[in-house]
Symmetry: C2
Subunit: 516 residues, 2 copies
């Protein structure tokens, strides 16, 4: 707590100390780092079966076609040879095939703090926090519509925890008018964090405002921005087989601006996709490939991420289900498809639980099992996502920090040095002895094992004497401790000023036109 107080003092003094140095003293955590999947990703299907899905997706795009609401997108595809009939576009397989291999297999995404830039693709992994819920929740104040102040707290947690590589999207800010909400959220994010941010594609002004604010935050020229991906957006197709105006615009403009577009069909088997997982995956693949074609027609070589979000519904109620065996399979197959196309792969840490209980945890870890072993590069909704995306939970955020750090540590290579093989330690301990006092233990004990944030390993009596806290209750304390220990990252005053002026001007101009 002395450390936390010291940090608060430093903050008040306007210290430039980076947040990476600050925490850890209060809450044990791993250093900033990108985990890498050094193991071979798990293949659920054979290469022939992956080809079946690929060919079926091409047939779907060619024969059934996509309904595309943006004239510019239809024009781009039509010019490439697609057959356009009203809003229906039949995209020939040669058009799709021509788009494969153009986008980079791996690229750097640049944060305003270069230490927080990261690799997207290859064996590198990034974790994002919860994105997009209208509601937030904590044990003190319950479930409620998200407000800007809640979003700011999530941004601080994103900055504080090293295993979160991207700041936001976070929770929605229901207390700010929709026309300027994106401006207020982006400004808060840029000031409270120095990590890569998210840009909404739900409107042309929102998209360009977000990109421009990413540019300002890095203090770079327009030309440099075009060459350096500095923000990302997620485009959800309107499954089945439909792409609305803003989504199509997002794909085209992000490509032209050289920014990261993650096209993620939301293919819930049994509702917006066939009731079979194979069918849902064919549809996911068709829609993602349509996005890829559009992106690469807009700008060949633009960064593009293959997104998978295929799960199933509960056929009794129609409710979406997550962290299911079907979801796990879809994660693995999605990864195989992304690798087939040599694209970075986006997948998610999901659950459909209503409270931060055992269900929330097991559905999350099953999701992560599929996501990580499937070779996911961008693990969306990494921390805080609840209720199938309706709620951003502060307690779940902390639970997920333990899950993500466990995975980071799991993916760290095993030390196979001579000393680590331990023959001398075994000789020293001797048969029937113990290792608490061996030279090897003495030299290594401090950092030998992962120190969890929440896992309670006290014996039952000690745990009971401490009030029998559940993981959720402990998490409630930890997110408050993290906010206490949080240190705002430094920003060049000129950049902060330029940002402020931009937001003021765009607010005056009305932001994003809305129907409200």
């Amino acid at each position: 707590m002395a450390q936390a107080a010291e940090e608060r003092t430093a903050r008040r003094r306007g210290s430039r100390r980076s947040a990476d140095n600050a925490p850890g003293h209060v809450i044990p955590q791993l250093p900033w780092k990108q985990p890498r999947l050094r193991m071979k990703p798990v293949d659920l299907l054979s290469a022939d079966e992956i080809e079946q899905i690929h060919q079926a997706a091409l047939t779907v795009l060619e024969d059934i076609g996509m309904e595309i609401l943006l004239p510019e997108a239809r024009d781009l595809l039509g010019a490439a040879g697609a057959i356009v009939e009203g809003e229906m576009v039949h995209i020939g397989r040669e058009i799709v095939e021509a788009s494969i291999g153009l986008a980079p297999e791996s690229f750097t995404v640049h944060a305003r703090n270069p230490e927080h830039s990261f690799q997207m693709g290859g064996d590198a992994i990034v974790f994002t926090p919860v994105g997009g819920p209208p509601n937030c929740s904590d044990l003190d104040n319950g479930r409620r519509p998200g407000r800007l102040a809640d979003g700011e707290r999530f941004f601080k947690l994103c900055q504080y925890f090293n295993c979160i590589h991207i700041a936001g999207p976070g929770v929605d800010a229901s207390d700010v008018h929709a026309s300027i909400r994106h401006l207020k959220i982006a400004q808060a994010r840029i000031l409270l964090t120095d990590k890569v941010g998210f840009t909404s594609a739900t409107g042309r002004e929102r998209l360009f405002d977000g990109i421009e604010m990413a540019r300002i935050s890095r203090g770079i020229s327009h030309e440099q921005l075009l060459a350096e991906p500095s923000c990302h957006t997620v485009v959800n197709t309107n499954s089945p087989l439909k792409l609305d105006g803003p989504m199509a615009m997002g794909i085209i403009e992000m490509a032209r601006m050289g920014q990261v577009c993650v096209v993620t069909p939301f293919t819930l088997a049994g509702a917006m996709a066939p009731v079979t997982m194979a069918g849902a995956l064919v549809q996911q693949n068709a829609e993602a490939l349509a996005g890829l074609a559009l992106s690469q027609l807009a700008k060949p070589g633009a960064p593009f991420v293959y997104g998978g979000f295929t799960s199933n519904v509960d056929m009794k109620s129609g409710a979406p289900a997550f962290g299911t065996p079907e979801y796990m399979k879809a994660c693995l197959v999605g990864g195989q498809l992304a690798r087939r196309y040599k694209l970075p792969y986006r997948t998610s840490n999901t659950n459909a639980a209503n409270s931060v209980d055992a269900q929330a945890a097991w559905e999350s870890v099953f999701s992560l099992w599929g996501a990580i072993m499937g070779g996911g590069n961008l693990i969306a909704h990494g921390a805080g996502w609840m209720e199938g995306g309706l709620v951003a939970s502060f307690e779940k955020f902390i639970v997920d920090i333990d899950l993500l750090q466990t995975i980071e540590e799991f993916l760290n290579p095993l030390d196979m040095s001579e000393d680590a093989l331990g023959i001398e330690a075994m000789r020293e301990a001797g048969p029937g002895g113990h290792f608490f006092g061996t030279a090897q233990t003495m030299a290594r004990y401090a950092n030998a094992f992962y120190s969890p944030v929440l896992s309670d390993w006290r014996n039952f009596e000690q745990w009971q004497a401490a009030g029998s806290p559940t993981a959720e209750q402990k998490a409630n304390r930890v997110w408050k401790q993290a906010l206490e220990a949080y240190v705002q990252p430094a920003i060049d005053p000129a950049i902060a000023e330029e940002l402020q002026a931009f937001v003021a001007r765009r607010t005056e101009e009305g932001g994003q036109p809305t129907d409200f």
Copy 2:
């Protein structure tokens, strides 16, 4: 509920209906089946690194040696060329190498109900329930020493749930004198279930009583028993590098009787094993290989299972930790070693939580992630294990049923038929349409997806109106429903009588001599 009542009536009538047919109506569950890992198990280490561990283990056995307290075991090893100095035995690498390849890679374990026999090894998986805790726990009566009546309830749950392939060990029966406890437990197990059982190796009489009761329960001859594995035991070495009298006896006699011996070193890194995971794995491997050598010297070709139980301790408190990243790595490497020796592989579903909360779930699923992707064949403590093995929890048992069934369904192959690819369904739904009413959905919806036992997918308002139940609270209802719906399996009255006579005689004889 009408169905449950009907089943209770059938039970009262002494119906011979198999339990497989009975449930499912009350609690949704998958049919009896052995899941198979069709995917390639995940390799954490290279083949060269596995060889490093193998060679280091051979060096440990040769140079440091094992302390072996049973004269007969020392004699067996000595006759094979090991250097015996007092209780220390230096086992030359040629002795170990000669034992590799003798034990079967895969074999059948026979249940008294042949429909519940299973394959041990290859890509086949079996799940056992919690084994061995002194305590049990449920939400109604809290945490308490286990009694025979509790053990009986666990046996009924093992019989009821199809995804549990083995009955017991279950919880200890503190209310029965230690000398005859094994008799009472085995009798209850055989009468309440028709699945393969566990036999304790903590004493010669216990071991032979258990084997004899397995023989009686199957109604087979001594000769047939010798040829057909019909029960299993677990031998935990006294890590580091020590094997006590009963454990060594267990290895030798189970081999001679042709029964399944699972040798599982309990190598907690930092306490009974080196503080490095590589070192702990070298030690695990050395101790398991010593067990293999002893087993194969006692009877070449005897069934043997390579057990891994390497985890780490919390270096701050010395408390054992489970479901950690270190545990996951150990699971993967253990599987690689077992495959190196062409042996079935035993690993476990573990956690160190004190309540059935998020921690219990995430530690369990992380364990299972390592266990399943590591190629585990015998997944011990599959359902109900808590507090690092100190407690058998009724609620956790039900949570684990959902976890194990999720894994079963995850491992089921994806339907890649023409119809499953769903092109016709997509044509029928059309762009922007939905799939609830397509012919494909109509034909498949009833069994399209896994139906969980506990996962609550109601929306927040419905869930709140239902009293905001956590997974733990729902599990409390489910285990009672399962006990209500449980149907005792049929047994030949002559066998039941022979069993009764055996237990009566052995009880009169004093059972297992104890120091009490």
